[in-house]
Symmetry: C2
Subunit: 200 residues, 2 copies
Amino acid sequence: MDALSQQQLNQFREHAAAYVEFNEAEWIICIQHLALLKLKKKEHFVVPGQVCKTIGFVLSGSVRYYHLIDGKDITNYFSFENDYVSSYKSFLTGEPCISYIQALEPTTILTVSKKNWDAMLNNPMLAYKIERFGRLLAEYYLICYEDRVTSFITQTPEERYLKLLESGKDIIRRMPQHYIANFLGITPVSLSRIKRRILV
Amino acid sequence: MDALSQQQLNQFREHAAAYVEFNEAEWIICIQHLALLKLKKKEHFVVPGQVCKTIGFVLSGSVRYYHLIDGKDITNYFSFENDYVSSYKSFLTGEPCISYIQALEPTTILTVSKKNWDAMLNNPMLAYKIERFGRLLAEYYLICYEDRVTSFITQTPEERYLKLLESGKDIIRRMPQHYIANFLGITPVSLSRIKRRILV
DNA sequence: CCAATTTCTTATCTTAAGATAACGTTTTCA
DNA sequence: TGAAAACGTTATCTTAAGATAAGAAATTGG
């Protein structure tokens, strides 16, 4: 486990500032709870059966969430630089994960272990701001997932793909098509057909 | 806007205790920020275009979240007694809602307006516990939505229905089938066929 | 209590997605 | 750099979902 550079800490601090700003005293305590995780391409952040013991902030690189169902690899989600990464359910509840999270390229992640997360929540110097940070973070992802559920309920695969073309530039640009297909809830073959239908 | 009875306040307090317990001093301030909303059957908690200005706790009754897409009514979600109800995205961001939330029967809801919610977050007596309450609430629904997205990605409609039979007793028992169908991401006709397939 | 509405099923037809395999292209990495 | 793996498209066949309509059963509400 390497040490975090000043630049990496600043990158996180700047993005966290969207939720909560730490003063110097708080920040000094805070950074004692952070660690750096480097993943090589294809290394896993977590695998099914394990409890996800950390929550991470992607400093660089990208990860993919996926399931293996009857031997088939099904992509569920992506996180890029400046996104957070965790199997939230497992991290929050302590239940084992059901999905894989894998680095798609060399990836550096700032991590907080569950132990340190709880320590910060119990540290009077930090508790209030960490509660707030946690609330805003959970609310952000709640909204993401709410939107995604709505898209499954109200849109066709073709409509979901068209929407992704508009608002999912990172995913479209950086992810292979068969991952995107799963993310949209369809097979790669089906996405290929949709693309052709759209051209006509 | 009627007053909340002691019993209604206790009902909420007991359920909120799963997230945070208020002492008497805090509780006295807290209840000044709560209100009671009674909805008749088919009345709306919020409609598209409106900003959702309250978050609610269902004391009794039930509500349905739905969209009108090309004139078609598509059910997205349900809340029953002791669930929370809100168009979270709209409540949290101040953007207009995109869905309807409608009472399915006479329904009583304990509500907190956005103004009062923010007031509690800014009240030093309450801020910490409200932040915590908000975090745990958002985390709870985040996990619900995460599971639901995963079910769309990894399961067939038939598998989703079988799972709901196991773990969605309230929905199965109390909701008409065409609402359940939409909730599963399919049409009512399709759900009817699935039910027959399962019997054979 | 009865007419109106809602709900569910069934049937038919259409459309699109899943499964599988083949093939050419691109990428990977040893 | 060259063999292997990964990727995207296309074709075929199968399966299931969507659209629509009709009719029976259940529920509702005046």
